[in-house]
Structures are given as structure tokens and as C-alpha cells.
Symmetry: C2
Subunit: 338 residues, 2 copies
């Protein structure tokens, strides 16, 4: 079962938690100066270090559509999927671990888990990192810490992030002031697909901006504290509407269910909006025909590439894709009711 | 069972057929010159002429809400409901006949039937008219025919009308050219509630403009022919969309079903729009969970006064009425599925 199909903690607000380490090997050049031959060496060394629990995908062997689907499922980064030349993805689905080789850094290791689970994600990622550390000549400097291609990843090389569902903060226009507060803590808030991406479906990613000068524990604590405050605030705002405002919100939520269950064409843009109303509906107990995890899976599976990959015939036009998406969304209820 | 709950002919295009006669009694003044005492005389004479099959409602004894509900159900006219002074409605529900006394004319007699049924409606109305003729001093002039308060009703005193559902003609912007053609035939097209009223839910009323100089048979034939042509044109236009246009129309129809089944607040304005899409969906076979007659009943019962009359507690605000309407609409599916 994929990470997003599993019930997580604080699922009414938290979509996922992710830990990522950036690691590099001594004696190998970075980025464009890394030859195809040397890249293959890194991939093979990593494969050996990780062992049989990891499934290897040589990205040059899969279609752009399959690569895009991995991005949509948060199993690798968009930059990684776009790399020219040899690069491979290793996955241990049991522990939700992905290891990307030969992206910007030689190795990027991530663990993504559903719900609020920073500590578990950190533990799984660190175990895997120890394995790599023991087998590979990881570049490390006593003063600078882990050496990385981009200086913003120096030090711990740790990026911890939490994907939050913040419809009430968003509706109340509080995201920009939240961003301002977070930046003072060395944290940053972004849309669904990382840096520069726009928010979809009320989802926002909060992560640490600073990797140097703080211990891994300090980074995790700072992020976890901020997330707890945001969860509290979001829940308070959700509980606030009464009277007519509450009736209007409930109506909006039930209409979203009506459209999701009956529309025969659904653009991904509209679906993101429906997702936000459906998820709020589940959180408020207005919608009982879905669970948070079924909605999370629906969100991922309705994205263009993942949707196309799972269709019997690949949709050939926008309208065919919108029809496939609508047909797929409807199933979420049919599956649950059988 | 009310007239609108029964399956009619050509129900995909025809909502209802109506025949109305205007009659007056010799020796009684018209309109404002008619005293309360004389009005009561007319009411009592009519009651006696009609006999026991008719149920009498003295309009001064019922609430404005109950009167408005009768208007919504097309059982009396809006003008009749607004009359000051004694006026009474007589109904023979078996034959869908209403007799309004002391409106603009002393007596207005109508028969309304579901679907295309001008001949039946005429037959039932004429039977009743014969009964009145035999018992009452009906004002009749050899040259002018039946004498009426307003000269536009002189002659036969007959108004025949058919309520049509014309979403395709309407969407294709063809209603005004249709109105022009009809006027050349001495016919007129109006919205749901008669003269001057706007169209709701794709419904249009076609009726004869002229009552003098034509026989009753000629009036009926002219209207029936025009209606047959309109039905044919409307069906052709509905069958025309293919490809993406057909997919988009189907999506719109299914969304209407989704909103009707899930919304918790529904204004009557929005409901009229939904009604049009739902009815088109039933006509096209896209929606199989409803019948034309259940939709017709839904339309009438969702109107403000009828809705309030059937609610356990009378809604006190617009939002309460919208909530009651949404709850009521939903039931259409629940009732059918049990």
C-alpha cells in the first residue's frame, strides 16, 4: 500500500511528513561535470549499499509519464525526474523511503509518511542514512557538516517538511502573515509541489529553510512546535462559523460531494477545489462517506500522470482526461459501498 | 392525486394543457361595481349549479400563503387570489377542473391536465360549462358571443394554452423568432406564470390571443398544430449535439443531479435552473433516477408557498426556506428508492 493510502495522525490537518537528507560522495564531481560513466558508478555503489530491500528504477528506462507519476506521488522530486543522463530511484515501500541518485546531489534520501510523523520519518531515514554512511565515502567536513552541491543544504543536509491542509487559515486570508511569522523561525511555507509552486486544494508545505548551524534535533523540534501551533489555530478557525455561515459552509461541502459523485467531466483545477471542500467536510463530520486516507489517495490518483497510468487506455485529449478523472473520482464511493 | 403528479403525453416537451372559459351572469355588474352581497349571490348560484362533486373554498377564509399555493399549483390565477371581497374557488380534482367566481369575470372555469391533452381538457371543461349554462343566466350575445369583462375575452371566451419545456430552443436563442411566428398565427408565448412573467426552468406557455371571430375548434386546432411543430423542432435541436458538446451537456446534467441530491440550501431561482437540466436529463435518458411526473411534482412543490404549506414548521427566513427546499428536493430520490 502506498504511503498516502494509510491513515495518519492529525489527518484532519496533516497530509504528510517528510524527511530528506542530501549526501555526496568524495571524489566524484557535481552536477554537469559528472560524466555518465561516473554517474553509473554512483548508482551501482548506492544499489550495493542499500541492498535487496530496495527496488531500483533506472529513470532513463521509464516513460516521461511514469516519471511524472512518481513526482505526483511525492516519491521523487520534479528536478530529479528532469535530470539528463543516468539517474536512478531506489524505493523501499515498506518504510516509505526513496533514494534518488545523481540529481543535484549525488544522493538524496527521503522518507515520507502519512499524517504527523516527523519522528518516525526521521528514524527511518536515519537508519537508511547509516547504511549508506557505513558503505560509501560520504563527503563530510568537521566544520561545515555534510557537503552538498547547493550551500543552502550544507550542514545537516536535512530538509524536514510537513504538508498541511489549511482551508480555514487560507479562507481567512492568514497565510501571508503565517509565512512572515514562519520566516522569522527559519521556516518556510510553499504550495503543494515545493518551491515556487502555487497552493492547490488548501495544501501547504512547511519546511526548514536553514540546514547549517542547528542540530537535526533542533530543526525537527522547531518545525514540530510550529506545526502544533498551526494545527491548533486551523482547528479553532474551523470551529468558529455558526448560524448562517455554518449553514452556507455545510451547503458548499455537500455540493462538492454532489459534484464529485455525479460530474462526468472534471478538470484537475476544479478537482483541487472539490478536494478542499470534501476534506473539510470529512474533518467537520459533514461527510461520512469518505475517510481522510481515501481522499488523500483520491487526490494523488486524480493527478494527470497517475490518472493516465492507471487508465485502461491513455486519455488522448484534455476532455478525455477530464472524463477519466470524473469516472475515477466516482469510484471512491462505489468502492467504499461494496 | 394532483394533475401534475400524473404522467402526461409528450411529457419530454409538454408540461401541461389548459382550457379556460370566461363566463358572466346577466343582471350582475362587473368588477368593482359588484357589491359583496351580489358577489355572494353569484358564488351561491355557482355552487348550486356545480353540485356536490365540487369542493368549495371561500378565498377570504384561507391564509395568503394557502392562496399563493393554489396559484403555484395553477389551480387559480394570481389575479383571482388577489381579489378583494367575496370570491370562491370550486374544484373537481377528479377532472382537474377549477371554477373561479368573482374574479375579473363572474365565472372563470378551467381544466388543466398533464402533458399534451387539449382535447380532453376541452371536453371536461365543456361538460362543466354545459352544466353552468343549463342552470345560470349566462350572458350571451348572438353577434358577440359570450360577453366578458375584458373585450379580449369576448366571443368564445376560450383561452387554450399549453405549457412547454423548451430548453434547446431557448439555449439556441430561438424563442424570440418563435414568438414572432406565433403572433402571426394569433398565438402568444409567455413565461411560467402567464402574461408578462419571465421564463423559469425552460418553461413557456403558448396560448391563443384571439377569442373572437374563430370557432372553439379552430382555436384548438391552430394551437395544437403550432405545438406539434414546436415539439418536433425542440426534439431535433436536443438530438443535435455530438462529440464534445454532448459530453459537456451530459456533464452539466449529471452535475445538476449531484447538486439536487446533495445541496443543503437551494434558492428557488437556482432550483428552476436545476429543474431544466434535470428534465432535459430525463428526456435524454441521461438521468434514470427520476420520471417526468416526479420532476413536475418536484417543481410545483418546491415553489415558496407550496413548500411552506407542506413543511412541518413554516420557514421563517429565506435561508430556512432554502434549507427546507433542499431537504424536500432530496426526498424525490429517497422516495423513489424505497
Amino acid at each position: 500500500m502506498a504511503w498516502y493510502q494509510v491513515k495518519g495522525n492529525e489527518a484532519d490537518v496533516v497530509f504528510s511528513s517528510r524527511i530528506r537528507f542530501a549526501r555526496n560522495l568524495e571524489g566524484y564531481p557535481f552536477g554537469e561535470r559528472l560524466s555518465a560513466e561516473k554517474a553509473k558508478e554512483i548508482i551501482d555503489l548506492t544499489a550495493k549499499a542499500l541492498g535487496d530491500a530496495f527496488k531500483r528504477t533506472d529513470m532513463e528506462d521509464i516513460s516521461p509519464l511514469a516519471a511524472e507519476a512518481l513526482v505526483e506521488q511525492h516519491l521523487c522530486s520534479r528536478d530529479f525526474a528532469a535530470v539528463k543522463g543516468p539517474h536512478a530511484l531506489f524505493r523501499d515501500d515498506n518504510k516509505s523511503i526513496s533514494v534518488m541518485t545523481c540529481e543535484e546531489d549525488h544522493i538524496r534520501l527521503q522518507c515520507i509518511l502519512p499524517g504527523l510523523a516527523l519522528q518516525d520519518a526521521y528514524r527511518f531515514a536515519a537508519e537508511c542514512d547509516d547504511k549508506l554512511d557505513a558503505a560509501l565515502p560520504i563527503a563530510y567536513d568537521e566544520k561545515l557538516g555534510y557537503l552538498t552541491h547547493c550551500p543552502t543544504n550544507l550542514g545537516t543536509g536535512l530538509r524536514a517538511s510537513v504538508m498541511l491542509f489549511l482551508p480555514a487559515l487560507s479562507e481567512n486570508g492568514m497565510i501571508s502573515s503565517l509565512a512572515h511569522q514562519l520566516s522569522k523561525l527559519g521556516l518556510t511555507i510553499r504550495g503543494l509541489y515545493g518551491e515556487g509552486s502555487k497552493s492547490y486544494g488548501g495544501l501547504y508545505q512547511i519546511s526548514n529553510q536553514v540546514t547549517l548551524g542547528l542540530s537535526e534535533e533542533e530543526i525537527l523540534h522547531k518545525l514540530a512546535d510550529a506545526v502544533q501551533n498551526i494545527i491548533k489555530k486551523e482547528r479553532e478557525l474551523r470551529a468558529a462559523p455558526t448560524g448562517e455561515a455554518a449553514l452556507r459552509r455545510a451547503d458548499r461541502i455537500h455540493r462538492a460531494e454532489g459534484v464529485a459523485r455525479h460530474a462526468t467531466l472534471l478538470s484537475s483545477e476544479e478537482f483541487f477545489k472539490l478536494f478542499a471542500d470534501l476534506k473539510l467536510g470529512v474533518a467537520l463530520g459533514e461527510i461520512t462517506s469518505l475517510s481522510h486516507e481515501s481522499l488523500h489517495a483520491m487526490l494523488i490518483h486524480a493527478l494527470p500522470a497517475t490518472l493516465s497510468m492507471q487508465s485502461a487506455t491513455t486519455p488522448k485529449s484534455a476532455i478525455e482526461r477530464d472524463a477519466a478523472r470524473a469516472a475515477f473520482i466516482k469510484q471512491a464511493w462505489e468502492v467504499q459501498n461494496t
